[in-house]
Point group: C2
Amino acid sequence: SSFSQNTLHFQNLFLSSSSNSTLSTYLRALTVHPHLAGTKLAADTTTYVADHFRSHGLTTHTVDYNVLLSYPVYSSIAAHFSSGSVRHLLLTEPDRFDVVKPYHAYSPSGSVFARVVFVNYGRERDYHALEKLGVAVSGCIVVVRKGSGGGLGRGAVVEKAEEKGAIAVLIYNNDDGGDYTWREGFERGHVMRGGVGDPLSPGWAGVEGSERLGLEDSEVLKKFPKIPSLPLSFEVAETILSSLEGTSVPLEWRGTLGSKVRNVGPGPTMLNFTYQGENKMATIQNVFAVIKGSEEPDRYVLLGNHRDAWTYGAVDPSSGTAALLDIARRYSILLSSGWTPRRTIILCSWDAEEFGMIGSTEWVEQNLVNLGSKAVAYLNVDCAVQGPGFFVGSTPQLDSLVVEVTKKVKDPDTEGASVYKNWAAAGGDSNIQRLSRVDSDFAPFVQHAGVPSIDMYYGKEFPVYHTAFDSYDWMTQYGDPFFHRHAAVAGIWGLLALHLADDSILPFDYVPYANQLQFYMNILSSLLDQQTSLHPLNMSIQEFASAAKETNNESKKLRLQETSGHSVDIKNRALNDRLMLAEKGFLDADGLQGRQWFKHLVFGPPSDHESKLDFFPGIADSISRSTGMSERERLAAIQHEVWRVSRSIQRAASALRGEFT
Amino acid sequence: SSFSQNTLHFQNLFLSSSSNSTLSTYLRALTVHPHLAGTKLAADTTTYVADHFRSHGLTTHTVDYNVLLSYPVYSSIAAHFSSGSVRHLLLTEPDRFDVVKPYHAYSPSGSVFARVVFVNYGRERDYHALEKLGVAVSGCIVVVRKGSGGGLGRGAVVEKAEEKGAIAVLIYNNDDGGDYTWREGFERGHVMRGGVGDPLSPGWAGVEGSERLGLEDSEVLKKFPKIPSLPLSFEVAETILSSLEGTSVPLEWRGTLGSKVRNVGPGPTMLNFTYQGENKMATIQNVFAVIKGSEEPDRYVLLGNHRDAWTYGAVDPSSGTAALLDIARRYSILLSSGWTPRRTIILCSWDAEEFGMIGSTEWVEQNLVNLGSKAVAYLNVDCAVQGPGFFVGSTPQLDSLVVEVTKKVKDPDTEGASVYKNWAAAGGDSNIQRLSRVDSDFAPFVQHAGVPSIDMYYGKEFPVYHTAFDSYDWMTQYGDPFFHRHAAVAGIWGLLALHLADDSILPFDYVPYANQLQFYMNILSSLLDQQTSLHPLNMSIQEFASAAKETNNESKKLRLQETSGHSVDIKNRALNDRLMLAEKGFLDADGLQGRQWFKHLVFGPPSDHESKLDFFPGIADSISRSTGMSERERLAAIQHEVWRVSRSIQRAASALRGEFT
Ligand SMILES: [Ca+2]
Ligand SMILES: [Ca+2]
Ligand SMILES: [Zn+2]
Ligand SMILES: [Zn+2]
Ligand SMILES: [Zn+2]
Ligand SMILES: [Zn+2]
């Protein structure tokens, strides 16, 4: 049978090998104890994953790094109310002794005694609103709520508070998802800034014996917060906030605030806040299972998920780890029925993602040159299931593949429907997310190495995020009682990889990329006045669009001349090389100004966390960067960044065409 | 017959198609009039080259750029001697009216009236010697000799003089090659600093309508000299220098100085110096002839030579252009006898090299992404013949190929001998030059794009360099009377390309690269004291050396399994991809500190033109950069650069192995 019939057979075999019970078994085993990066318990989870891969006949190895992690030593808060009474606040979930104390990783140690001010989501506009009401936060301890409404990340909240003169920050999660139990949860998390990976080895792999920057190095210092911070539970926060007097809460904040929160302070309540943390070097381990390609072993399809968790990690990340282990099981079924992928597939289990994507970032930095020329795509699943509803992000050339694959996988929540049906009904297929954020392991692949990537998960958000309640029980009661959603993610994830590993011509379609760039340009032109010319951007996008169309025609033609034999036709290889190289065009060796680790000029985080733009980060930065320069200089900087983005799009078009001028 | 017998046949056909008369005909035509970049006459030469390619059946196209060039408007020097007499000095070669006035391209305009000081080669140590003798140059016009003894480039001479407070610079060529006629020659040339390519488009192609930095932009300003300068002939210089009084010439300068130069001044002679130049945008044209590869059309072997000259350019560069045209002729013979190269060959005729490698640099910047993944090698010939003796520079993985090819080409000066025989007898094969300089078009390929490269020429140097005497007559009388050396260069150049285009496994041997790195480390360790650890460098070189040996074994094995058929064996393709990718490992995206356009951390120019190191430019810079930092900071900077170089060597080893950790 021809090669493609062959692949269809194995794709169907993969789809039919779906099972829920194996997924729940894996999740049960993965969540029996916490597995915080760098700890003894985490090493057991590492062994569990490696043994699973090996027991299914996959060639497995681990790679170690020695990196700076951060753990809590001591924390306490005593509330001094105006009544004179003093109350020591409970700073941990009740009777969870095997779980790490709630803390913000990399927070400095410190002890302060000061009045409290409530600053809503801690955004610029929130501080602005307080200023207008004459409420100053400098010298105070600020309490900040975090929730889907706010959008500011933990690190950004502390950075902004520091900028405004606060001397400590307490962050609580405002969404209880409609169940009071979760109000006792504390959201752990790191508060580093501006970068990913091991802070002491920016741009290179933090392996044993490698170069380390000193903690006093300016490049290291700027990543660390200068004021201490701690997470609070909703309940503890309400205790503090309900005791505040002074100015009443601004009208526009009230909507989603609990009724008990009436005033913003400052005070009269004073907090005696103490935190002691310890940053120390620790060994972390990535685990890899490699299935060597038969025809093109030097082309790699990567499936990645992080293994480390703040607590039991049932949702984050073990639901994803369970799916990865199930894919290993299902691939071993294919292998034993005679399948070998055309290209090499690697299952990657990353460590220390919760400390800033450290495991994946060190591996990307260590393998940057080979990734640049040999990695077909990176498929990320962090939390496989957080609740109902399929969500996916991707670099646009993979959009079409995502649509095609979701049509073949059963929907977990509606009998007889495909994932695509419900997803499209909810408008999902017309707003596939883009990968500009740094909240999971796709960040180093897209933003540093320019590897086409996908990130997917079920469920918009969940109330036990990074708390001690993220347990197997929560998952079986709320997340995915029958593990159908886990099975759907494993099905989509594994089938995507099968296409990328076995299709003779890579399933990349760059027309959606051109459309997305066009869409971004339109947003930009509505934001910028006439003084900035977007003509260069328009020209390069047209050039890219025509290269995308031509390449699609070539792909169609070559797909028709399906080679019966297994030999690699050099024409296919040459076209595939061009399809892979195009994304590298968007990288600029000089990177983003002041953040040169970020090389991608289309997808990447803006420095200003409250920027309206979540694309063209260099342009976003030049717009929000206004201090210390004249208006003329600011406009020149914006125009220069527009040119840089235009040239990156031209480079991508040139790589897609594969020809020299 | 097997593929390799086939290639041997065509290689012999190429060798037997050598002819001297065609080369002299081409040189005659190329040098009939000057062809200065951006001028009408140069356009005729462009047409001549393009028509030649087309007339030999090669697919030919041109690529235009719009770049900043520089031409002289007016120059005059009146010498005011102590006797009161005034003499207007002759500032051009006698009766050469069609040749551009002697000038320094990009020199600012200016008019000064000041005393003269002779500063020998204008190096730091020369100024130091004068200071010790109480001779100050600030406010003076300095006269500098340039010659093989000095080693400082024109731009560096003016930069140093500016630093020392001189208000104008006059440079003369001290070597007359034993013939007084050449003492009337003026050495034209540009005096830009610190970079190559169009000064207004650093890092991107200066095509019509592209972004241009303003002349006031700091990145542009720092490339332009601040004080005016002009070249002098030996004779005019002697007139001035022989009139100087004041302090006598330091003893250590006397050796190669003419007897008339007895004192260094200052004065009493005063010069009324005026120069007016004009920097203006001009169109330049690169010409390309493309011979498409039959098996691997997306792999490119590039042969390049620049076409623009300061005057008639018989040596520089038309001797190289003649060789390139002859290769076109000889390849067309092979083509008409049934040959097509396995990989694509491109003959490149660059424009505006004399203004700072502008034609080649703009093309490299325009095609950077595709060059990175598809360029096999770049073979540069600037001046094919300057005199007797074969000289070659290369990135070390091409050393073995150079040796192999020189053994098959007849020596031009000794009957019955191969080029190799005489070259090796002169110790040539054991000190192949390395490509760290920026004096020809290999610079952007190696130092910006990391493409393996070779540069070759006959003759160590020549006395009519960049003067009006660089004419066809000089070549027939002195350079290469029978054009045998031209034929040898065309033979070596064309045969190198045939191997790179047709060998099934690329003729790259990375063991010499490991040896060269080891040699460099030994020099470094003798220079640096114990406070800098070279352990990381040593470890990475060992890692690279073992990867090089293993890859050599793989290459040997695959070469034996010669595929009879023409189909590309994926194993060959995969190994060749690794052999090409290794050089990219030496590139660091962040580039050299302060000179980020230079990405190669092994080969590149040091910022300090008088640095003892002509390798590891980042380390060389950190050693010579001492101002404004403590000793501790300086040592830390040196150690950091050692780490960066070590990691680049590790990246190269990883690319050579082609595997992920
Ligand atoms: Ca690192
Ligand atoms: Ca340029
Ligand atoms: Zn996670
Ligand atoms: Zn997480
Ligand atoms: Zn030249
Ligand atoms: Zn020249």
